[in-house]
């Protein structure tokens, strides 16, 4: 509302940029004029993150690792190279490190500095991942955080927190749910929810597999 402090009369509906919109437009105009940025490229980037890259990409990687032991080994050894096999890669050359959950160790990712996240395979992070509360609390009390998400782990399971950086992006590999023997990669991928690849949840149980809606086209 701060942008509406003048021109409030109702003679006609003025266009108003909020102060923040005007700041963004200012930067954009300057960057385009100086040739640093191409407006069409901006649209392409937005489209990519809004419609093309998302958790289903990560889910595809996880499902492949569940069904293809050789791929899982390659993913463990060199995450960046393994996801590149499936056509995924960082724009900025960052490394992807796959953290496999086991009965002994549960993995959880965070970026305590800002919001570094495995964008190339998960898209943009959820709001809570970017919140100061999550970023600060997860290193202090990971089990407390997990219980907030409804995830209670046995005492015998160690929780390991991975602090992402601009160079290293971690992807959690949740454990394959029980009673999914013989499932196709596509069906398995439907069980790989976004939060399970951050580590705040486990893969969706087979009995709760999302319906056809989740498949899309």
């Amino acid at each position: 509302m701060s942008g509406h402090h003048h021109h409030d009369h109702d003679h006609h509906h003025d266009n108003h940029f909020t102060a923040i919109e005007a700041r963004v437009k200012a930067l954009e105009t300057l960057m385009v004029q100086k040739g640093y940025v191409d407006p069409a490229a901006l649209d392409a980037i937005i489209d990519t993150y809004e419609t093309r890259i998302g958790p289903r990409d990560g889910a595809r990687i996880v499902a492949k690792a569940w069904t293809d032991p050789a791929f899982a080994e390659r993913l463990k050894a060199d995450g960046t190279a393994a996801v590149a096999e499936l056509g995924y890669g960082g724009r900025g050359g960052e490394h992807i490190v796959a953290c496999f959950n086991t009965p002994e160790q549960h993995n959880l990712i965070v970026c305590t500095l800002c919001s570094c996240y495995p964008w190339p395979v998960l898209g943009l992070p959820p709001s809570w991942y970017k919140s100061a509360a999550y970023r600060s609390r997860v290193v202090i009390d990971p089990r407390g955080i997990l219980s907030e998400f409804g995830l209670a782990l046995p005492e015998s399971t160690t929780v390991r927190v991975w602090d992402s950086t601009s160079e290293m992006r971690y992807l959690v590999l949740p454990r394959r749910p029980a009673a999914t023997e013989g499932w196709s990669e596509e069906d398995l991928a439907a069980l790989v929810n976004r939060d399970s690849m951050i580590g705040t949840r486990e893969a969706t149980p087979a009995s709760e597999k999302p319906g056809e809606l989740a498949h899309g086209h």
């Binding site: 900025g92 709001s127 919140s131």
Partner: protein, 144 residues
């Protein structure tokens, strides 16, 4: 997707001073998560950063430091811990890195900001907002 997520938070039981607020915030954030960007300016600021980085104008580590500093300042200033605050910090960081990398100095940023505010104010509703030379003559003294 959103409905599937809600259940998780319902099972949480607050057991610390700030936990209730934390859960409420997660819940709120998750409800709004279906849209990647809440408002177009957030998408624009994000895309500009990505494009400038791809052109090699700054390293991502420099970006992370700049954004991290802006986030810490917002937190210290008591800004609400929301998506809106996050993207405001993103914009602050982008303005700073544009300035520190000599892509656009502070005075140019300010001049263009005022010009766009002026252009928006003089353009009738429904018409495209375009920047004209005259907008630069008016903008500077309007807000100060």
């Amino acid at each position: 997707m959103a409905t599937e997520q809600h259940r998780i938070f319902d099972t949480a039981s607050p057991c610390g001073s700030d936990l209730a607020g934390f859960v409420a915030r997660l819940h709120e954030a998750d409800n709004a998560d279906s849209a990647t960007f809440r408002e177009p300016w957030q998408a624009q600021a994000f895309a500009m950063t990505s494009a400038l980085h791809e052109r090699g104008l700054f390293a991502w580590s420099e970006w992370a430091q700049t954004l991290g500093a802006a986030l810490r300042e917002a937190e210290a200033a008591g800004s609400p811990d929301t998506n809106e605050t996050y993207y405001r910090c993103w914009l602050v960081a982008l303005e700073r890195i544009a300035s520190s990398k000599n892509l656009a100095d502070d005075s140019s940023q300010l001049r263009y900001r005022h010009a766009w505010e002026h252009a928006a104010a003089r353009t009738p509703h429904g018409m495209p907002i375009e920047l004209k030379p005259a907008d630069f003559a008016h903008g500077a003294d309007e807000d100060s």
